[in-house]
């Protein structure tokens, strides 16, 4: 379990990193390394060059930017969990990140890394989609902003170009009465979920005005269930109806710990679990 040969480049600044990445199709970005390094060691991935962006200053900034909460790509999960601005503006983030692996991994793993990697079982891509976040990428032609729902194409597949690097994520600030609620079901604490749900809710428990449901660990990317959300809004929680709706809306893909049937069931009960967390 030793990585194949690669060259290593410690990027001095963003432009430096972009330049190398643009010129070498098989180079990859190294940020926290929590997904990349195991893949290298198991020789599942053999890039020519690792471009280490972890020393680039300023990329871990967390701030309010206009009507958004901006989280810099290099902010680690621990940074984000412990940040006051995040806590005040996006209180769900702590609960979500608490479920991302374990402290040692959260101390190294980065926000941008998780967003860019696009693991369908990860929490953050689903959060980005559920909150209508913008993913800011930087490339040879400057910056562009991609809406999270357009960013994820499929299994570990995103719209990011070879010359581009994720530099930060802009989460729209919550409006009055808006809440992000979350739950997931996993075999062990910190594992990838068998199914998870992030709900973007407007209203209160007894008076939900708008509802967006985004599932993770269910298919090949964050799964948006608008039809089911509407059904839930109109009829309230009805297990059979919602299950039936989800089965037509999401292409559940089973894995080692849960069959597609299990995921469908869990996704359905997660709606109940998540809505029960709302205040009356």
């Amino acid at each position: 379990m030793k990585a194949a040969h690669f060259s290593y480049h410690e990027a001095l600044n963003l432009q430096d990193a972009i330049k190398i990445k643009a010129h070498d199709d098989e180079s990859v970005i190294l940020a926290g390394g929590q997904s990349l390094l195991p893949a290298l060691n198991m020789r599942l991935s053999s890039p020519t060059c690792l471009i280490d962006i972890s020393k680039i200053s300023g990329l871990n900034e967390i701030k309010i930017d206009g009507q958004t909460l901006f989280i810099g790509a290099l902010a680690t999960h621990s940074d984000v969990m412990n940040n006051k601005t995040v806590k005040n503006n996006m209180p769900c983030m702590f609960d979500i990140l608490k479920m991302v692996a374990h402290p040692a991994i959260r101390n190294k793993g980065t926000h941008g890394g998780s967003i860019a990697y696009g693991d369908p079982a990860a929490e953050l891509p689903a959060l980005a989609v559920a909150t209508n976040a913008e993913i800011i990428v930087s490339g040879q032609n400057g910056d562009r902003s991609i809406n999270a729902k357009d960013f994820y194409l499929g299994l570990f597949e995103t719209t990011i170009n070879q010359d581009e690097i994720v530099v930060g994520i802009k989460y729209p600030l919550l409006k009055k009465g808006q809440k992000i609620v979350f739950d997931e079901v996993c075999r062990r604490h910190g594992d990838y979920a068998m199914a998870g749900l992030i709900a973007n809710v407007m209203g209160s428990k007894n008076d939900i005005k708008d509802l967006k449901l985004v599932f993770f660990a269910t298919g090949d990317k964050p799964d948006v269930a608008d039809k089911t959300a509407r059904l839930c809004l109109e009829n309230g929680y009805d297990y059979d109806k919602l299950k039936n709706s989800l089965s037509t809306e999401i292409d559940f893909a089973g894995d080692l710990n849960s069959s597609s049937e299990m995921k469908l069931h869990l996704a359905t009960v997660l709606i109940k679990k998540v809505l029960s967390k709302l205040e009356i």
């Binding site: 062990r188 068998m194 080692l256 710990n257 069959s259 069931h265």
Partner: protein, 797 residues
Amino acid sequence: MDDIKVNQNPKLGSLDRPNSYIGRSLPRENAKKHLDGGGQFVDDLTLPRMVHVAFLRSPFAHAEIKSINTNDAKKSDGVVDVFTAKEIDEVCKPWIGTLGHLGEMRSPEQTPLAKKIARWQGEPVAVVIADSRAQAEDALELIEVDWAEKEAQVDMETALDSNAVVIHPELGNNLFWTRTVNQGDVEKAFKKADAVVEATLDFARHTGVTLESRGIVADWNKAENKMTIYHNGQAPHMMQHIIAKHLDLNEGLVRIVSRDVGGSFGIKVHVYPDEMAVTAISKKIGRPVKFIADRLESFTTDIHARCHKISGKLGVDKNGKILAMEIDDLSGIGPFSMYPRTSAIETNQVLNLSGAPYVIPNYKAVGTVVFQNKTPMCQYRAVGHPIAVAITEALIDKAAYKIDMDIDKIRKINFIPDNAYPNKCPSGVPLEDLSHEASMDKLLEIMDIKEIEAQNEEDFKKGVLTGHGVISMCEVTNPSPLFYGVGGAHISSQDGASIRLEGSGAIHLSSSITEQGQGTEAIMKQIAADQLGVKMESVRVTLGDTDATPYGGGTWASRGAGIGGEAVLKAARKLKDNILNIAAAIMQTDKDTLDIEDNNVIRKNGGEGITLQKLAETVYYRGHELPKGTNAELLATASFLIEGIPFVFTNSAMGCQVSIDQDTGIIKINKFWAVEDCGTQINPKLVEEQIRGGVIQGIGGALFEECVYDNQGNMQNATMADYLVPMAYEMPDIIVDHVTTNSGRSIIGAKGAGEAGTGGAPAVIMNAVNNALKQVNAEVVSQPITPEKILKALGKI
């Protein structure tokens, strides 16, 4: 914590004397070393001219190797050589994993590297020797193998069918071993029974997952004809014999060094093909060779265990008295029986141990062990216990439910009474010094069953399924020669200890028992210091080096304290006797008036004594001052083995309460209780660590761990992310208590304590889950009990 209440063994002397260390929870010195990063594991070792290896392993469960081309690999950077079976077989003779004492076993010859046919995914096929492991792995990618994939026999349940793939055609079919035990007349007894219950349980394969993976450095010294092996194993003298035998070396010139070992659990007591290849390579190229298994290799080549399907039947009368029990067990062990202990022992233990705590006058057990194209299976912590205990205790709960009797009551009326030992298991295996009645009483006392039942009911009203269980079990520890030696294996059942007083006054102890993280060194030190009358810090211990320790079996089957500890006790008493004889001569008094306390020879009636240092100085440097003819030996050696009984059994009672989320199928263990009777506890804290650690491994088996295979025989979850072991978050509070019934086989009275947790937890968790599910007429019969299995049982999916 300094608890001496637990030492209730009069043979060990009074408890209020100085240097009374046996029975105290003293801190272990070597824990500090490990916390400080100061341990020395095999991978910490770098020898001059050392090379590294990487194995090309079969990607298929069953395939013909039509040809192997290593030319490009040999030219790769840093590569010293590339070997296939042809080169390795020139220096290493094949082995056969059978023994002679358990009836006919059939397993073919096995060689370090597969020849012509690979029979499991992960079997080594070729090996690259290079300056670094990374370079060796680079070259692996350049080896060209012309594979012809064959159909694999993956499922053990079809392995004996007429259309099964026969893995070793020369054997005619896939049967490795079978045994039938028949005591009394079960057929007749079942007819008389008022209630007969049946169950079929299945247990997934799992593995040991040691923190430190398997590792070996082999160093052949041509000039001295000496082979030195640094190995993280459990039985150095067994390995010494095996390596000498198969590499045709002088056994006396093979040295095995096993320094710090990061967990073993039985995984590291077997002979592995890749490790044998490493020793052969060193012999062939005359350089030190290192192999450290990576985690993927651990999962696909460390032995697996517990792949069983067992059916059982229990008959009781209307008063709950057991009349008969019958079991039929099937196990699949991979393509070879492991060497030298064989892969029959787990099934054998299932047959021996089922029903062991109870009076069962009629008992029949059939065990069948078959070959299949998966990783070889063999003995892992609590060998066979989880299966034997789970089937027994599941049947007893079912019988209790059927005749409407409390689960503790049905057990109590069927126990072999505590005052009825020596006695026998239903299978006929002798038992002595056990305390099922007292242990169950203590368990019920610490559990507070009434409160638990009330909580179960309250939870049910809230829609949560909560249930509990209690079980009893026997634990095989301290084996005698009847375990392996009688069958022809060169595995010592005797262990030795050697203890000396040095010129400085320091005490040096060496023992053939080994340390793998459980605290062996600490308890050996406690016994030696206690029996000799010296401070703990004046004793240093050497373990795990065949050049430096007495000959013996090593640490496995919970034999360290009971066998190795007794040898230390005997050696320390001998040395004390020698010291007092010398002191009597120096002090010109009667030996009986003297004793040793705090490193001084004292006069029991007062008056000036002599320090051990002064005494040693006199002996070593001024021997002429001693009266002529004084036997001035400051070195004593003793040995011990269990005689007259196959094993010294320990017993245990366990209870737990679980809650099940009906929506998600997630099981939460609310609390776990264990009462263990392992006789004298040398260090109660270390005993409790054994129980707790064992319970955690048992939780793994019950709820999480499974080597998942697809139907082509590919292991699907060979990473720590996908193979689930319980982590801190999944560990419940485990309350441990004790009953003490000393073993009459030794002075020290200690029995083993390492197996019970792992052996009993799966049974009590499954019973508690089924107790909870019973409220909605559901049941699970398969381990690990996954959320999906729960939801299926509940009819949710």
